[in-house]
């Protein structure tokens, strides 16, 4: 292999690998579901879950949570914890749970990645529209290089961890309510 061929080969490799630097994987729904929430009350009501403030993960973007995945993860956490008797899709639920991702601070560099997240949790009576819960919930999660060597994986796990903790804290706050 002469110098020109070597140069061309390395150039192609660098372009491919540098393109991958910006690539990242979105937070997965399964990684966000909050399992094993202890001492939770079981409300004899049904709920409709809506999520907003999330975003899709672009090819050159950092790890994000989509609204669909976030809503599904909240639903699965509710079903698993039995916080409500049923999750309803569409009309006819007793309560409407709206969760908005307000901010998510993600690091760009570092050996340990800590992601901080704030979400607005509101629960309202579906019939009267009266709010029974309005709470800002903040959570954070750190993933070290020992837990994930690849930066994009480390960031995704930190995002998932922060969202998972947020869901846990949100459901615990709802559990403390006295619902009709």
């Amino acid at each position: 292999m002469n110098n020109n061929k070597l140069f061309a080969f390395i150039t192609v490799l660098i372009c491919i690998s540098s393109g991958l630097i910006g690539c990242s994987s979105p937070a997965s729904k399964d990684g966000i579901v909050a399992h094993d929430i202890l001492n939770i009350k079981h409300h004899p009501n049904t709920v409709l879950v809506k999520a907003q403030g999330g975003s899709e993960t672009g090819a050159m973007d950092s790890s994000n949570i989509s609204n669909k995945d976030f809503a599904q993860a909240i639903e699965e956490s509710i079903i698993e914890s039995k916080l409500f008797t049923r999750v309803i899709h569409g009309e006819g639920s007793d309560y409407l749970l709206n969760v908005t991702i307000v901010s998510m601070s993600k690091p760009m560099f570092g050996a340990s990645f800590t992601v901080s997240m704030e979400a607005a949790w509101s629960l309202s009576d579906a019939a009267s529209k009266e709010a029974v819960l309005r709470k800002s919930i903040k959570s954070s999660h750190t993933v070290t290089m020992g837990q994930a060597l690849i930066g994009t994986t480390r960031l995704r796990l930190a995002v998932e961890g922060a969202a998972r903790k947020n869901i846990q804290l949100g459901l615990e706050a709802i559990s403390e309510l006295q619902l009709k």
Binding site: T11, I14, C15, I21, K50, V102, A120, R134, S136
Partner: protein, 149 residues
């Protein structure tokens, strides 16, 4: 051989910077239990780390929109403030410093519950000035509020 390494180095640096490409995002959310229609007085809480006066840009924008807006530190919130505005700005360097991301949140003064929020994210190739970022975020938040009235 030195020239070869130099060429590889230059291409690598160009490729790394090119991978930033253009990412544009401008979103706004409104909690279904929130109502922005009755807002008259707004207090913009200055972010302690903000040395660029973004709180002043937000206050000016809100004043231009007809609101009674003031700004200061978080302990000086006026009694008559209907809502409090908080914000987070992120900056990057690419030849010059530019605002990469701005998040503005409108909160209930007592509970700090986020009633509405907006976020704009523009990478280097499609960068906007801080004034344009503030305009975009605030306009998106309040137009979202109007659509839900």
């Amino acid at each position: 051989m030195h020239k070869l390494y130099l060429k590889i180095g230059v291409i690598f640096i160009i490729a790394v910077f090119m991978s930033g490409c253009a990412v544009n995002r401008a979103t706004a959310t409104l909690d279904p239990t929130a109502d922005l229609a009755g807002i008259k007085s707004i207090y913009v809480t200055k972010l302690a780390a903000d040395g660029r006066g973004i709180n002043l840009l937000i206050t000016k924008k809100l004043t231009d929109m007809g609101y009674q807006a003031s700004t200061g530190i978080s302990v000086d919130i006026p009694q008559n403030a209907n809502v409090v505005v908080t914000y987070e700005d992120r900056w990057m360097w690419d030849i010059t410093m530019y605002m990469l991301e701005l998040t503005v949140t409108i909160r209930e003064p007592k509970t700090e519950f986020p009633l509405a929020s907006g976020n704009s994210f523009h990478t280097s190739l499609t960068r906007k000035s801080p004034e344009e970022m503030v305009d975009e975020v605030i306009n998106n938040i309040f137009s979202k509020g109007k659509r839900n009235e």
